[in-house]
């Protein structure tokens, strides 16, 4: 089959880098990039809860760089509502259709919602786009009481940013500790102390019933019967992959679109997926995973573009030790690897806020939490790739 036109669905980090990568792989045909957001170049997302929300960066600094000779047709402010795979067409929200020979799925993820909270209520915010970050920043300028629902990476970063503004902040988390799903209960307790000691009121292990108020939000009602006064509520309970438009094509869409190890969507020979939306078997850990990190989208874009342009015979597997970072207060938090069980403090001390903690699975080191230790992190990334046994690990550290 000749590859004359490639459509990239999604114009954020993964889509943009995939578009660049298909050019890098030598594709000279029509390249069409469709994105739901109007801004181009798109805004990078990590600064939206930090530098942009803090007002530290002028707007354009938050935009992604784009290579000079991308030579792509951009279709912005349009959503793809359906993939007609048998016809090799995507259908847009204005009813138009675009045919393709190759397709990159890079539609990312959308904030997870709570059925009990109407996010159009004045004072209620989610944080995924540049416009949402600016809207939240403007609201924070009026010295509100802030309640954050969800103590994942975004919730914790927004809490830190709000404390930086000197605001009263309460964080509600359903799990017993903040960041527990990523860092586990032991280091979750450390994260709780990080936020408490800097003045955040944490309400842990409790669900949210809803929000109340006259005209705008005034209170968050919790399932234990208590409530929190709040003029600003940020809903930050994670994201769900944007796969609704792929339904009806016999793809496996359970928690992202299922790909093979080369990021080709299963059941296709001309569709690949990258970033938050893609689930693939990562041979590094022998697990099928979906990773929402910045670096994952960038690295997958290169591999997926290679798979799409050169075909199955030349395709290479994407084998990775994932990397994610978070900046909270004066802490540079970096995690390499995948989720595991707390093993031990490998270096430094928690009291000094400078340490490396190891995580294991079946006796093998699979993850390392590095705090204020950037020079060590990349050594651990390589170390984890060698599948080190945790037994006697202190004698074998990188």
């Amino acid at each position: 089959m000749s590859m004359d036109r490639i459509v990239v669905a999604g114009a954020s980090l993964g889509g943009l880098r995939a578009a660049e990568a298909v050019r890098h792989e030598g594709f000279v045909g029509d390249l069409i990039v469709v994105g739901a957001e109007q801004h181009f170049p798109p805004y990078d997302r990590p600064p939206l809860s930090k530098e942009i929300l803090k007002g530290e960066w002028e707007a354009d600094r938050g935009r992604l760089k784009v290579i000079e000779h991308l030579n792509a047709d951009l279709v912005l402010g349009r959503r793809i509502v359906r993939l007609h795979h048998a016809r090799s067409e995507v259908e847009l929200d204005d009813g138009s259709r675009i045919g393709f020979d190759g397709l990159v799925i890079a539609t990312g993820a959308a904030p997870r919602m709570l059925p009990s909270i109407d996010v159009t209520t004045p004072g209620v915010f989610v944080l995924r786009t540049y416009d949402e970050s600016v809207a939240l920043r403007e609201a924070l300028a009026h010295s509100p009481k802030v309640a954050i629902i969800g103590a994942g990476w975004i919730g914790c970063e927004v809490a830190a940013t709000c404390r930086g503004y000197g605001l009263e902040v309460t964080v509600v988390e359903y799990f017993p500790q903040p960041l527990e799903r990523t860092l586990g209960p032991v280091m979750g307790a450390w994260a709780a102390e990080v936020h408490r000691s800097r003045g955040v009121d944490l309400r842990l292990g409790v669900g949210v019933k809803g929000v109340t108020g006259e005209g705008s939000v005034e209170r968050v009602e919790l399932e234990d019967g208590s409530s929190i006064e709040a003029d600003v509520v940020v809903l930050a309970i994670g994201v769900v992959p944007e796969t609704g438009w792929l339904e009806g094509n016999d793809f496996d869409l359970d928690n992202g679109v299922l790909c093979d190890e080369t990021l080709r969507v299963l059941g296709t020979d001309n569709v690949v997926a990258v970033g938050d939306v893609a689930r693939w078997p990562n041979a590094m850990f022998g697990r099928v995973m979906r990773v929402e990190h910045w670096s994952n989208a960038v690295e997958q874009a290169s591999v997926a573009a290679h798979t799409l342009v050169h075909g199955a015979e030349l395709a290479k597997p994407y084998v990775a030790v994932p990397y994610v970072w978070s900046d909270q207060y004066d802490l540079k938090i970096q995690y390499v690897g995948t989720a595991g069980t707390f093993h031990s403090v490998l270096e430094g001390s928690l009291e000094a806020d400078k340490f490396v903690v190891g995580y294991e699975s079946d006796g093998v080191l699979v993850g390392a939490l590095c705090v204020n230790s950037p020079a060590r992190m990349i050594r651990y990334k390589r170390f984890i790739a060698t599948h080190p046994q945790v037994e006697n690990i202190s004698a074998n550290l990188p």
């Binding site: 880098r17 670096s295 960038v298 970072w325 900046d327 540079k332 950037p374 020079a375 990334k381």
Partner: protein
Amino acid sequence: MKITLNLDLCAGHGQCEDAAPEVFTVNDEGLVAQLIENPGEEYRAKVEDAARRCPADVITVEG
């Protein structure tokens, strides 16, 4: 190949060292340091990969 590093932007992500360990390292202050001043063409693919993978846009490759 000429490489320019904007150290003001560097946040110690270490992705450059991961991509091109012969050319870049992260020092104890958590900042990128260059191990080869003007790397030869044999490193181009790795250096370009390092630039692309840097979340802070620290690395510019010229020529």
